[in-house]
C-alpha cells in the first residue's frame, strides 16, 4: 500500500509517473543494455486538502485566491484521478459529532462483511473485483436496465469516461456484494458507486459553491490487491 499524504503538494510529474505502474502493476526501468520490470502491484491511497490554506471547508474561511485553488488541484491530472476507483470528499465533522455523536459500526462487523465480499470475488477467480477484466464485466456485473440508462446518460454527457465506466461497474459490484445482493446490480448500487466518484477536477470549473468548496478528500485508486 502506498499512501500519499498532501498529494497535491507533489510535483505533477511525480504523480503522473505513477500512472503506468498503476495500470500495469510493474515498474519498468530501461537502460542501454537491458530493460527490467519490477513487480509493483500496490494499493494507492491519497489525501489532499482542497486548497493551499486548508481552510476550504467552513463558509468563507478559505483565504486562497481562486487562481491558487485552481493551480493546486490541477496538479492532480485528469488521467491520474480517472484511475482512482474511489474518490471521496471528507467534510469537517461538526462539534457535536467530534464530542461523541452516535457510535458507528464496529470494525469487526465491517471486517466480516469485507471478508464475505472478498470470498465472492475469489469465487469469480479474482482476488478482488478491481481485477475483473473489462471483457468479463457483462457476466460478473450486469446492471438492471434503469441503471444502464443512467450510465449511458453519464457517458453521453461527458460525466464519465470509458475507463471510469468500467471502474464504476466494478465498484457497484463490490457495493452490491457488501450489501449481500447477488445477481444484476441495482440502480441504487450503481448510484452509490457513482457517488463514491466525486468530481474533483470540475471543482474549479466555474461558479464555485458560494463559499469555499472541497474540505478534504481521500482517494483510493486502482485498488489492486496488495501484494
Amino acid at each position: 500500500m502506498l499512501f500519499l499524504d498532501e498529494m497535491a503538494e507533489f510535483p505533477a510529474t511525480v504523480l503522473d509517473a505513477l500512472r503506468q505502474p498503476l495500470e500495469e502493476g510493474v515498474v519498468r526501468v530501461c537502460r542501454a543494455r537491458a530493460s527490467v520490470a519490477f513487480p509493483a502491484r500496490f494499493l494507492l491511497v491519497g489525501a489532499t486538502n482542497p486548497c493551499p490554506c486548508g481552510e476550504g471547508g467552513a463558509e468563507g474561511a478559505c483565504r486562497c485566491p481562486p487562481g491558487a485553488r485552481r493551480r493546486y488541484l490541477r496538479r492532480l491530472s485528469g488521467p491520474l484521478l480517472d484511475r482512482f476507483d474511489l474518490r471521496v470528499v471528507v467534510t469537517r465533522p461538526d462539534a457535536t459529532e467530534v464530542l461523541g455523536g452516535p457510535p458507528g459500526e464496529g470494525t469487526a462487523t465491517v471486517a466480516a462483511r469485507v471478508a464475505g465480499a472478498r470470498a465472492l470475488a475469489r469465487e469469480r477467480g479474482v482476488g478482488c473485483n478491481a481485477e475483473v477484466p473489462a471483457s468479463r464485466l457483462d457476466e460478473v456485473a450486469p446492471v438492471v436496465p434503469g441503471a444502464a440508462r443512467l450510465l449511458e446518460y453519464r457517458l453521453r454527457a461527458g460525466l464519465l469516461s470509458a475507463r471510469g465506466l468500467h471502474r464504476v461497474r466494478r465498484v457497484a459490484r463490490t457495493v452490491a456484494d457488501l450489501a449481500g445482493a447477488p445477481g444484476a446490480v441495482s440502480e441504487e448500487h450503481v448510484c452509490l458507486a457513482l457517488s463514491l466518484r466525486a468530481d474533483l477536477v470540475a471543482a474549479d470549473a466555474g461558479d464555485p459553491p458560494s463559499h469555499a468548496g472541497v474540505r478534504g478528500l481521500v482517494s483510493v485508486p486502482g485498488s489492486r490487491r496488495p501484494a
Partner: protein, 372 residues
C-alpha cells in the same frame, strides 16, 4: 477590398486602442466621422481637436503617440472580420439598434458590442445586482425575483457575475418570459467568469449580451465599475439583493442615483455582513423589495402576482422532492443530505442521480448544488 468597410468597423477598431476609455472614444467619434477619426488617430493627429485633447489630459501628446503606434499595428479590416465571425454587432451611439434609454445618459457609451437581438432592450427593464459572495438566502431571492419578473414580461438586466447576478439570470431563463439582458465587463468573446460559459451562451441565445469592451478585452478590474454605469443606465429600477458595505453594487447604486433610476433593496438579517449595504440603503429610505410584486408596483405594472412562473414539472414526490428540499440553495455534501433527510445513502444517491439527469442539481468537487 471588395466592399468599403462600414463606420462600425472603424469605431470598433478605435475602441480597441489602448487607453481608450468611454469619454475619449466619445470625444474622438464626436470630432470626426468614424473612418476619418481612424485616419486622424493613426496619423497621430487625435489631439488636434480641443475636446479630444481635453479628454486625454494630462498627457494628451503621449496618448496621441500611443494611439498612433497601436493604430499602425491594428487594422479595422481584421477587427471587423473578428466581429462578423463572432456574430457580434457593433452599435454606435445615436444609430439604429443603440439602446434609446442611453441617449440622454450623462456618460453614455460611444460604442456597444452586442450578441443577440438588440431590439430586446426595448421593453420594461429591471436590474438585479448584488455580491458575488452571496448567502443561500440572497441566491434564492435573486433567482425568484429573476424568474417572476421575467414571467411578468420584465427584462432582467444583470452582469453575469458569480452569485446574485448569475442566480437572477438563471431565474429569468427558467421561465418562458421576457428575454434576459446582460452587460458584461470583458470582451464578448472572453467569457468571465469561465464557469458561467453555459449561462453566458444561454443569455445570448434567449436575450441579449452587451459590452462596451472590444473583442478580446480581458476582464480588467477597471472595466467593472465602468460596466456598472451602463447597467444602471439600461435599467428603470435597480434592485440590490445582497451587498456588503464595500461591495461593487455601490457603484451601480451611485450610477443609478445620478441617472434618477429608482433604487430598491432586499432586506436582510442585521447580522449578515452581505446585507449590510442593502439594510443601510433601506435605512436611508430606499423602497424594500419583498417579492417581484413590489418591483412591479414600482414600475406601475399590474400587481396581479404571476402564477407559478416555473414551467418545469416539479420533481417526483418522495425521495427526489425530499432531497431537493433538503439541499436548498446552499452547496451540501452527500452525507449532509443523508443526515438532513434521514434517508439511506442508497436512496439519496438514486435521488441525486435522477435530479442531476433532470437538470435540477449539479455536483462539483464532491459538493451538490441546486442549479435550477
Amino acid at each position: 477590398m471588395s466592399e468599403p468597410l462600414p463606420a462600425e468597423a472603424f469605431a470598433a477598431a478605435l475602441a480597441g486602442l489602448p487607453g481608450m476609455g468611454p469619454a475619449r472614444l466619445r470625444a474622438v467619434l464626436a470630432a470626426w466621422p468614424a473612418e476619418e477619426a481612424w485616419g486622424r488617430v493613426a496619423a497621430g493627429q487625435a489631439c488636434e481637436r480641443a475636446p479630444v485633447a481635453l479628454a486625454c489630459r494630462p498627457d494628451a501628446a503621449g496618448v496621441a503617440a500611443l494611439w498612433r503606434a497601436a493604430a499602425r499595428r491594428a487594422s479595422p479590416e481584421r477587427v471587423w472580420e473578428g466581429c462578423v465571425r463572432a456574430g457580434v454587432a457593433v452599435l454606435l451611439a445615436g444609430a439604429g439598434g443603440f439602446p434609446g434609454c442611453l441617449d440622454d445618459d450623462p456618460d453614455p457609451p460611444a460604442v456597444l458590442f452586442s450578441l443577440g437581438d438588440p431590439a430586446v432592450v426595448e421593453g420594461r427593464r429591471v436590474a438585479i445586482v448584488g455580491t458575488r459572495r452571496c448567502s443561500r438566502y440572497g441566491r434564492e431571492v435573486a433567482y425568484e425575483l429573476g424568474r417572476d419578473l421575467a414571467a411578468a414580461g420584465v427584462r432582467v438586466v444583470s452582469g453575469l457575475a458569480l452569485g446574485i447576478d448569475g442566480a437572477a439570470h438563471r431565474g429569468a431563463l427558467a421561465t418562458a418570459g421576457a428575454p434576459p439582458v446582460a452587460v458584461v465587463g470583458s470582451g464578448l468573446d472572453v467569457v468571465y467568469p469561465p464557469g458561467h460559459a453555459s449561462l453566458w451562451a444561454d443569455v445570448a441565445r434567449a436575450g441579449l449580451l452587451l459590452s462596451e469592451a472590444p473583442l478580446g478585452a480581458r476582464p480588467e478590474p477597471w472595466r467593472f465599475p465602468v460596466r456598472n454605469r451602463v447597467l444602471a443606465g439600461l435599467a428603470e429600477v435597480v434592485v440590490v439583493v445582497e451587498s456588503a458595505e464595500k461591495g461593487g453594487s455601490r457603484h451601480t447604486v451611485e450610477a443609478a442615483m445620478v441617472r434618477d433610476r429608482q433604487v430598491m433593496a432586499v432586506p436582510g438579517s442585521v447580522r449578515s455582513p452581505v446585507s449590510a449595504y442593502t439594510n443601510a440603503l433601506l435605512a436611508d429610505g430606499c423602497h424594500p423589495v419583498r417579492d417581484a410584486v413590489d418591483v412591479l408596483v414600482a414600475l406601475g405594472l399590474s400587481t396581479v402576482p404571476a402564477a407559478s412562473a416555473d414551467q418545469r414539472p416539479p420533481p417526483e414526490p418522495g425521495d427526489e422532492a425530499g432531497v431537493l428540499e433538503a439541499l436548498g440553495w446552499e452547496p451540501a455534501a452527500f452525507e449532509d443530505l443523508c443526515a438532513r433527510t434521514g434517508r439511506t445513502p442508497g436512496q439519496v444517491s438514486v435521488a441525486l442521480a435522477r435530479l442531476q439527469h433532470a437538470g435540477w442539481v449539479g455536483e462539483r468537487g464532491g459538493w451538490w448544488e441546486r442549479i435550477g
